[in-house]
């Protein structure tokens, strides 16, 4: 994997940053692509701002060669620019990690059409736009791979999560379809399905919570973890980094959606 060039969308925080660091620490050159917002995000929890981008560059930069660029995966021109910025900076693109994702939850009768569109725009259309932009560059590589961050929500439905589950099932479907489509170009396409990782998405939104007290939040998180996960521990961003590295390097694996969930999801 030495010297390979990896582009990670949603790479400034959480799982994306874990993936960035895993590749950087094995000698890959990594482009961190994320929103890098100048002002407060209008979403239901904080998305990556400029400060997050700077911190990501600092922490991942200590492990290997990284750079960053702004990216909104719902915007075609922005996706094309991110690919161009990567090739301009590093001369090639070998691995695309479609990790950018957002969540919104709630019963369908109360769920706004705007939120539905936003979830699908990032989690589903984002993969399409990034793949479309990156395939020409990936086709030049002799061992290219795409890894999509889906979710265990892409394997089983949950109440109040129609938009998120729908978008992640779609991510798995796109993974399989692209695996077929791109195999003749020697581009492998796989997905990881993270379980419960204590990122902003989980702690600030997914965990049902009536308190802002940090200790109580942690206690609830730990209780959820020990009840729901056979291995009895939460997953980490490092787990996702290692899984992505393995899938990017496993030359005869394509079209799979690997659950990294401590056994929550087994199919």
């Amino acid at each position: 994997m030495d010297n390979r060039v990896v582009l990670v969308t949603g790479g400034a925080r959480g799982i994306g940053l874990g993936i960035v660091k895993a590749f950087a620490s094995i000698g890959c050159r990594v482009m961190i692509a994320d929103l890098g917002l100048e002002s407060e995000s209008e979403w239901n929890y904080g998305l990556a701002n400029k400060d997050d981008m700077d911190k990501a560059i600092d922490s991942a930069g200590a492990l290997g060669e990284v750079a960053s660029c702004g990216l909104d995966v719902t915007d075609r021109a922005s996706c094309e620019n991110a690919v161009k910025a990567t090739v301009d900076r590093f001369g090639q693109l070998d691995v695309l990690i479609n990790n950018a994702g957002v969540v919104q939850t709630g019963p369908v009768v109360d769920f706004s059409e705007e939120d539905w569109d936003s979830v699908f725009a990032v989690n589903t259309k984002g993969i399409f736009l990034m793949a479309k932009a990156a395939i020409p560059a990936l086709s030049e590589s002799d061992n290219a791979a795409i890894v999509n961050t889906a979710s265990i929500a892409g394997k089983k439905g949950h109440a109040n999560m129609s938009a998120y589950c729908g978008s992640k099932f779609a991510a798995v479907g796109i993974t399989q379809s692209l695996a077929f489509e791109l195999a003749p170009k020697a581009i492998r396409v796989n997905a990881i399905c993270p379980g419960i990782v204590g990122t902003a998405m989980w702690l600030e939104h997914l965990m049902p919570m009536n308190t802002t007290d940090a200790d109580e939040k942690n206690r609830t998180f730990e209780a959820n973890v020990s009840q729901e996960i056979p291995l009895g521990r939460p997953q980490s961003v490092e787990d996702m980094g290692q899984a992505a590295v393995y899938l990017a390097s496993a030359k005869n694996i394509t079209g799979i959606a690997l659950s990294v969930s401590g056994g929550i999801e087994m199919n």
Binding site: A183, I253, V260, S261, G262
Partner: protein, 283 residues
């Protein structure tokens, strides 16, 4: 090295996939405990492991015999004091039964019994032999070698000529067993996963290829190796599904998959059945 000092049992490690797994574990610094039916093939594997600079002990003989399983476990414990990794690689296609019962279901019954005895029962019993030790230490990694045949139905022609339906059924059972064990032993910090190899040119497929060029009229006279290469290249669409990556898999692929699944890199992956098949089965 990812497995420095860890002790790994690999069954049926004399040839093919089992040997590939044992060598892969050795390159990562594991201490190996290997078994094979044949003394001769086992000696080859032991030599190859030693050439890599790894420690190894071995026990030849029939690993479908529960007493042999117990002996293999006890050998590992007496020699190395611990077992960190168990790779259940034992498995085989149908063998000619000595003398099936003479009633109309006799042949079917003996083939199914035989495949159960070769593919499922020895995995269950070997795991039962090792699990108490792993539970006590609250650490362990168990890998079952399943198959693409455990995840999908093959074509009628493939089932008639190459893969008995009972083989697929036993390999599918291993996937279920992987999941139930992952649930049961998760609280003891034991990860249980399966690897599903695709089509690899081991001795089993060498004889499959031989069979194809001898017994299927349209392939008559072909070189067996060339015929085999045609599977991944998609030349027999009425027998084998497409392999999107158009290349055969290797024992090294399976070794790498096992290394990933028994290393710290996958500490939070359990209950999974990892397809290493060039995309033939899409799960």
């Amino acid at each position: 090295m990812k497995l420095q000092g860890q002790v790994a049992i690999v069954t049926a490690a004399g040839r093919g996939i089992g040997k590939g797994i044992a060598l892969a574990l050795a390159t990562e610094g594991a201490r190996l405990v290997v078994n094979s039916f044949s003394e001769k093939t086992l000696a080859n594997t032991v030599d190859a492991i030693k050439e890599l600079g790894a420690e190894v002990i071995s026990l030849s003989g029939d690993i479908t015999d529960p007493l042999k399983m117990i002996a293999l476990r006890d050998l590992a414990l007496s020699e190395y004091g611990q077992i960190d990794i168990l790779v259940n690689n034992v498995g085989a296609g149908p063998k000619q039964s000595e003398k099936p019962p003479e009633h109309e279901l006799g042949l079917t019954a003996s083939v199914w019994d035989g495949l159960y005895g070769q593919n499922l029962k020895p995995v269950v019993l070997m795991t039962e032999a090792v699990i108490p030790h792993m539970k006590q230490r609250k650490t362990g990694k168990v890998i079952h070698i399943s198959s693409i045949a455990g995840r999908t139905s093959l074509s009628d022609k493939a089932l008639n000529s190459f893969v008995h339906p009972a083989y697929g059924a036993m390999k599918a059972a291993l996937i279920s067993y992987t999941q139930t064990q992952a649930e049961m032993f998760g609280p003891f910090n034991i990860n249980v996963n399966a690897v599903c190899p695709g089509i690899i040119y081991t001795d089993a497929w060498k004889s499959g290829a031989q069979n194809a060029v001898q017994n299927i009229p349209e392939y008559s006279g072909m070189d067996p190796r060339e015929w085999f290469e045609g599977i991944a290249k998609g030349r027999y669409p009425d027998i084998f599904d497409r392999t999107p990556l158009r290349r055969e898999q290797t024992v090294e692929d399976i070794g790498n998959a096992v290394i990933f699944l028994v290393s710290q890199d996958s500490m939070n992956i359990t209950g999974q059945s990892l397809m290493v098949d060039g995309g033939m089965v899409k799960i």
